[in-house]
């Protein structure tokens, strides 16, 4: 419990940083495009962080937090949408209050969505116990982190690194510590109280962080993972062969400085793991498993003089289909070059510091994984694993050595009934709390509601329920009219930025003729995600209806051609044609929605899209100079 005062103290520090006179928060309106974004989008940006609400499957609206560069790459480059940024000035205290309000809401919503998963896990675990009681010995759960050592590979020699760690642990806590701790864990698992959800586990408070308890499934999984970690340590299990990347590539050769840095970190890691065994934190098993896997990989790196990297991709990554990997050789080459740069930068940190820490190793691990995955997908002609989350080694394994709590079958069945009911009630509460509504609860209205809840004075209140301010572009105008906007800026879409560049360097008329259509454009390659169309209409006004007519004809023609193609392409041409026709209709009335989008844009190309926003200090200085 001493932890909380210590953490609170950290949040009370650094008050001088608030002495700055004012800060700027950006209201970002993202123009529409076809697909799921034809109404436009909006976000609030605080420095490097961007908060925005997205419509999730199941009709829920959820607050997301993205790095600004990622947000810009996704919406401005890949989705090719122009952004309008209104830079709002406010006192540093108000800025911090607002930022914290958004972050708190983000953390709260994340916990709510986790609770939905937790109740589901409780139910699944109880069903598993009942199946075991009915004699089904094949049922198993999955343990994160256990996949580095389990299932145990027969006849493989013990890991030297784990033998040393085991000795260190026994010297610290006693020779019988491992079997003793394993017995304690099994005993605790056997006596674990079955879940009996209370209103506090199901109801969602109107405001503030929810007071959900330490759920049964979390506790059970934490204890079982700890048991698996001790079993691996007890037998000093070696890493499973497929848990690491092959270290055959010449660029994985370690420089002497890197070798020293990794050896030093391995020594410190062994000490940390030994102390971890004495910790009272409930989740220590997973950290111990990952730590042991890293220790073994570091030991092998030291022995071979080459980077031995754990496979850090999550058990359920997104997959880019093999067919797409094959279809985009240039994109794969460019992505590999970017990943190699990233890997080089991460490795440079190893040589630059006297003592590296977990973040340094994690950065090398993550960058190396992304690079090796890209190469392997091309070389092995397989699906490509991708993830936008931080890469933490978490390879899982099925675990059937389950300790069923020492209760009757009736008690298990009753608990299952209660948990099932609680899961349904919670789903209803979540739907009421986070349900999407086109007008009253969308990506714009929730930004303004969150601002309201922060109780900061922005010079005026924007109420999206009493006007059309819930529409993204109308909301941008409301912000400019109501809040103290110091600067308005437009960040052009990727295609329009490239066009501007071409207009400056080439004959403008020739550029326009070449780039106005999808057939001869050198900027836009056909993207299968887009509808079928012929002319771009986002950068023209007068010819827009004429281009719209041509696009309408193209869409209808493609749809007609798609009918006989139905048995061969599963209706793709038909749907793309119909969508093309629908999104051409606004163009007949001078309105553009569709802009085309991109599968991939090399980073070096869009890195030239310099943000036109000026530094906060420049705007502040200019404002101060005015009478």
């Amino acid at each position: 419990m001493r932890l909380i005062p210590a953490l609170l103290l950290t949040s009370l520090g650094a008050l001088p940083a608030l002495a700055a006179p004012s800060r700027f928060v950006d209201y970002v309106y993202v123009e529409a495009n076809e697909g799921g974004s034809s109404g436009g989008h909006a976000a609030m940006r605080f420095g490097d962080e961007t908060y925005h609400f997205q419509h999730e499957p199941g009709g829920l609206l959820r607050l997301h937090r993205d790095d600004w560069q990622h947000f810009r790459d996704t919406y401005g480059v890949l989705e090719n949408r122009t952004m309008h940024v209104s830079r709002v000035a406010m006192p540093a205290l108000a800025y911090e209050e607002l930022r914290r309000r958004f972050n708190e809401r983000f953390l709260i919503e994340r916990r709510l969505f986790e609770q939905r998963e937790t109740l589901h896990d409780d139910r699944a675990l109880l069903q598993l116990f009942l199946a075991r009681r009915h004699g089904d010995a094949t049922v198993a759960t999955h343990l994160r982190g256990a996949g580095f050592f389990f299932p145990e590979e027969p006849n493989s020699p013990a890991s030297d690194a784990l033998v040393r760690l085991r000795r260190q642990v026994q010297e610290t806590y006693g020779a019988d510590v491992i079997p003793r701790r394993m017995d304690e864990l099994r005993h605790e698992l056997g006596r674990l109280a079955l879940p009996a959800p209370t209103p506090a586990d199901v109801e969602i408070p109107a405001d503030g962080y929810p007071r959900f308890g330490y759920a049964f499934s979390r506790r059970y999984r934490d204890l079982t993972t700890a048991l698996a970690a001790l079993a691996a340590l007890d037998r000093a299990l070696p890493l499973r062969a497929e848990a690491c990347w092959p270290a055959t590539s010449p660029e994985l050769h370690l420089a002497p400085g890197e070798r020293r840095a990794l050896a030093g970190f391995a020594d410190r890691l062994a000490g940390e793991l030994t102390r971890l065994l004495g910790s009272d934190r409930p989740d220590w098993g997973f950290t111990f498993l990952v730590g042991m896997a890293r220790l073994a990989a570091l030991h092998e790196s030291e022995q071979t003089g080459r980077f031995v990297l754990l496979d850090a991709f999550p058990p359920d990554p997104e997959l880019v289909p093999r067919s797409s990997v094959r279809r985009h050789p240039d994109a794969m080459t460019s992505a590999q070059a970017e990943a190699a740069d990233e890997f080089g930068r991460a490795r440079a940190r190893l040589g630059a510091r006297a003592e590296i820490d977990e973040e340094d190793l994690a950065a090398v691990e993550a960058a190396g994984n992304r690079l090796l995955e890209l190469r392997a997908a091309v070389a092995e002609d397989r699906d490509l694993r991708v993830t936008a989350s931080a890469l933490v080694p978490s390879r899982d394994a099925p675990w059937s050595d389950l300790v069923v709590p020492d209760v009757t079958e009736d008690a298990l069945a009753q608990s299952l009934t209660r948990v099932t009911a609680a899961e349904q009630r919670f789903a209803g509460h979540l739907d009421r709390r986070c349900g999407y509504n086109l007008v009253t609860r969308n990506c714009v209205s929730e930004l303004f509601h969150t601002v309201d809840a922060a109780h900061v004075d922005l010079g005026g209140r924007i109420d999206p329920t009493r006007s059309l301010d819930f529409i993204p572009f109308v909301s941008a105008r409301a912000v400019n009219d109501t809040w103290p906007v110091a600067e308005e800026t437009t960040l052009r879409s990727y295609r329009r930025t490239r066009l501007d560049d071409m207009y400056q360097r080439e004959n403008p008329f020739r550029v326009w003729l070449r780039e106005c259509n999808v057939l001869t454009s050198t900027i836009y390659p056909r993207n299968a995600d887009d509808s079928l169309f012929l002319f771009f209409t986002d950068d023209v006004v007068v010819p827009r209806p004429f281009f719209g007519m041509a696009n309408l004809a193209t869409g209808l023609g493609a749809a007609a051609a798609g009918v006989p193609l139905l048995p061969f392409d599963g209706g793709r041409t038909l749907v793309a044609g119909l969508r093309g026709a629908v999104f051409s209709l606004p163009e007949l009335a001078f309105v553009n929605l569709r802009k085309g989008s991109f599968d991939h844009v090399p980073r070096e190309t869009h890195a030239r899209m310099a943000p036109p926003t000026r530094a906060d200090s420049d705007i502040e200085q200019e404002a101060n100079a005015r009478p």
């Binding site: 990622h70 934190r281 993550a366 529409i471």
Partner: protein, 133 residues
């Protein structure tokens, strides 16, 4: 008190569409398709994900400013601790949530990580009067 900063348009600024007709069409578009569907579902595949992460975690070295990943972690720990203290609850649930936050930043051993206990550079979490007058 907020100090009003004079409005200023940056050079080359484009005006947003703002006629009633535009508003009507946009409203129609919103009604037809809604807004802000999860970006990941819009694009069937995005290679940008293969070379970097979307959050300021330790493996997004490409992102923004130096030290941004560490600062983001410290802010999350600080904001989460304050939120937890305000509402109260099970201490083990607090530790479990903290572990999840740390993992999202690429940190597994949060207990031994000095960043967990270091103040955020922005400060921020100090109690203060609300700024609405």
């Amino acid at each position: 008190m907020n100090r009003k900063v004079p409005h200023r348009r940056a050079p080359g600024l484009e005006k947003h569409p703002e006629s009633p007709f535009d508003a009507l069409v946009a409203l129609l578009a919103v009604v037809l398709a809604g807004c802000s569907i999860s970006a990941s579902s819009v694009s069937s595949w995005s290679l940008s994900k293969s070379s970097r992460s979307s959050s300021r975690s330790s493996d997004s070295s490409s992102s923004s400013s130096p030290g941004a990943a560490e600062e983001a972690y410290r802010e999350d720990v600080s904001d989460y601790t304050r939120a937890y203290v305000k509402s109260g609850g099970d201490f083990r649930a607090f530790q479990s949530d903290l572990a999840k936050i740390a993992q999202e930043h690429g940190i597994t051993n949060w207990e031994e990580n000095p960043l967990t206990y270091r103040p955020s550079a922005r400060g921020s979490a100090a109690p203060r009067c609300r700024t609405r007058s």
